[in-house]
Symmetry: D2
Subunit: 288 residues, 4 copies
């Protein structure tokens, strides 16, 4: 058989199983999004369209991988674009093979981001293919997982407060970026919030939660049918009602539903506090 | 500082450096391309448009990663879609971090595939985001690298001969897939080639080399300027002349060119034999 | 400087940090102990001197590594010689470097085994250097750790019951090993226990716990001084009183004691049930 | 079956295969040998008995592992005790399992060191069990292997020259260690050699090669029987003739010999230059 004598090269592919019994956290990070956001005129400090596109791509990943129990997306439209996916600790997805898991999640997210770009960035054609990198981190216990997400959400808050103040100085006061960075150097959160309020009349805490808290997507069981939500399956044509539903109930949902069972699993989108224990306390299944 | 007490979770991210002094082979594999090719009416046994799209995405990866010295793409439009990238053994890309390398290559390939889909599959809109997985394999010596590519090209030949015969039986003789598989079971290459010739007048060896040999992309130094090629920078608007150039000279080239230096590096596309030592002998820089 | 141009070879030593927050279980396994036990005329089915030597070597390891919270030794003097060491999950020993930890534990155990051989095997000079191999396994949660030790102790029981019955058939009934194995094939525990009692008058459950349960060593805090125990610091000259203390109180202890603190840490030897939750319930510090 | 429900814990033992086609270098490092050498009154700067004991233990490892092609031992009797073992790149020992290889080599070396101590350190009983740690490093090409050994032998030379001068200052001039270190700070090799010659009449280059070059052990094929060497099978009773043979021929040999074949494999001990290419050139089999 042709090729047989070469098949020994397969033996160089070594096993890369991730330790069982640990939560698998996959973190995606956008490449060169500083330039991408400039080339495509993202709004500063936050571009809601781009954030919704991120949410859409994350939702596609959750719909594909049923063992992802929560995702968290953060972005400052300026430098950082992160999405974090947590697989349940008992997951056997791809037999827990490291490269397979981390590349597939990264690829599917990338693919959905490009595929759905035009639905959100309606008047801004994508000029070149953006990319992401991914990595997997294992966490042995629920406490570490919660601390991980707390770390990221605290970071989101810090970055967003900084960026909101920075862009106010630049856009409304005409400061140069260098001046604005200098003005903010070493300031604490309280100082920035007071500056926003006193100078620009902006109450930071009334800005959209999406900007201040990032995006949280969880796969949740629902028993009753919820026709108001069931249609928001990540379809960009429903972005407006989804937004409304979200503002009313705090959720936007999707996920393939089993017709046979009364219990449906839906991907629900929140922009809520996940540092507070109550979020996790109300959802014991996430880290069970 | 908010978040500081959570920062310990960063210590769970372990180093994943790939052994220095080894060739890094990254293999990408399409997910669910059997279904994708059916849903998008790929021609059988080979869809030239889809093959050119693969080549385009691979070229984008080579243009981004200067340390990739050769790529090999194979596809039977039926089950398997593979692309293999080889980094030179001295590469320090991303400090040889495993996850970073393998996810970025996978992501960029995916992104380019989706981004450029409509340029090749002109009348077939992409219906959903396709994905790929990737993995890295290390090879210590040039011999193993050559045997790896020989293994893949031998596999391409075996699959393409099988598929070409299979689809002739199905499309021209009206056999069912089950009948066609049964007719081919256990046959050797010679038998299939004779069947193609005697029954359908097809000389297998005169079929396009792209189908029989796959796609080989290498980064090559060229000293003279080649205006006939310089424009084919992976731009779909030049697909037709690129095709012609290729048929004439066997190459299609691209790669960012240094204006300062007489020596340019170009990505050149071949559909040629890489099992034979002469390919490598003529390009000693590839495995130096 | 001589040698500088060669120093690049150090870059091939890759980091091998073990995942934080996980229990590190190091398992040692004797090499060729079937032959060793024959060459040195070990008693069958259990050689108490050899078991005490194992305990001594394990105690030396616990005295060296303060982050080992429990060890379990099992041996059937026939094929298998295992010792298992559990590091607390927060240990930073050697910065959790895998090779450093597993080789040092293996080396120290081996060294103590050879060094102390003559104290236990008093009339049987060691003929050649025995060796062990080791490996590390990570466990994320207390439940998995307890199940690991339960698995090993259940195995000890199964092996010891089999071997006790086997050697009774061979030594007391004059069966050949082949006959004895055939007689026991497929028998359940109850059958073997009844055979021991009815044919040889042996009540299996009254055999020494050391044989039936293996050796458990833990590092325990004691507040009061215990002069009766403090001297049994793994010194072979105190084997006899140690044995007595053990039979009375179930413990033999050692470990360097801090003079400054009232709380001492001592290595205590048990031959008790560690499958039952009460062992762990009484020692919450072990898996905290 | 008792224990069955616990057997899942075995799934936490992950594969740890070392990349095929690479040389496996196992380096052993003595623990606390500064203290050990003081507690056992090692001669300064070199204790020939201790060096011979190291050679003996290394020889035992080579006799056990037929795929080790060369070992190199270095020691300054003061801080560092290293032995390096190189497995041929095609070795399949223990299926190339990392922990198994590195722990077994470390354990056997340790065991032999303790077992044979009294044969070399005849009037100095071992007071406590010494230990070593080990680690494996992979090298893809012969050049890196040679550079590794060159690096180590250059280091041996540097250390020994320093230590020889240092101890001359301390032992013959009555300097304190602090004074001696201060006197040598920043001096180059030539300066130290001149100091040794001018002040103590010591021609550094005529000191024993064992001290200046370390110990090299290789497994070599010999065709003729060599009865004068065949008895020096690492038996301390033959240390004297072995020394003589070595001084005459530069070699001391051992290794189990096949009676059937004319070609014997013997472990040969050298104290020679391995930085110079001629050593490797004369032994093409080592790195083939």
């Amino acid at each position: 058989m042709a090729g047989t004598k070469f098949a020994y090269v397969k033996s160089f592919e070594l096993p890369d199983v991730l330790l069982p019994g640990t939560y698998i956290l996959v973190r995606l990070d956008g490449h060169g999004f500083h330039r991408l956001s400039q080339d495509h005129n993202f709004s500063k400090p936050n571009d809601e369209r781009a954030l919704r596109l991120m949410d859409h791509a994350a939702r596609d990943v959750l719909n594909e991988f049923k063992d992802i129990v929560i995702a968290f997306g953060e972005s400052d439209e300026y430098r950082l674009v992160f999405t974090h996916f947590l697989f349940r600790k008992s997951t056997q997805v791809y037999n827990r093979r490291h490269a397979k898991i981390v590349t597939t999640v990264t690829s599917l997210f990338t693919s959905s981001y490009v595929f759905n770009w035009s639905k959100y960035m309606t008047d801004t054609p994508l000029q070149y293919p953006p990319s992401f990198d991914g990595r997997a981190v294992l966490y042995p216990s629920p406490q570490e997982v919660r601390d991980y997400f707390s770390w990221r959400q605290a970071d989101t808050h810090i970055n967003n407060l900084y960026n909101t103040t920075f862009w106010a100085l630049v856009q409304q006061d005409g400061q140069t970026p260098t001046e604005a960075h200098a003005a903010l150097r070493g300031t604490v959160a309280k100082t920035k919030q007071e500056l926003l309020f006193s100078r620009y009349g902006t109450n930071y805490n009334s800005l959209p939660e999406r900007y201040r808290k990032g995006s949280v997507l969880t796969a949740e069981h629902t028993e009753a049918t919820r026709p108001d939500i069931a249609e928001n399956s990540g379809d960009a044509s429903t972005v407006t009602p989804a937004t409304r539903a979200e503002e009313g109930s705090g959720v936007v949902a999707s996920r393939s539903k089993s017709k046979k069972s009364k219990v449906r699993t839906e991907v629900v989108l929140y922009h809520c506090d996940i540092i507070d224990p109550s979020f996790w306390g109300a959802r014991p299944r996430l880290l069970q």
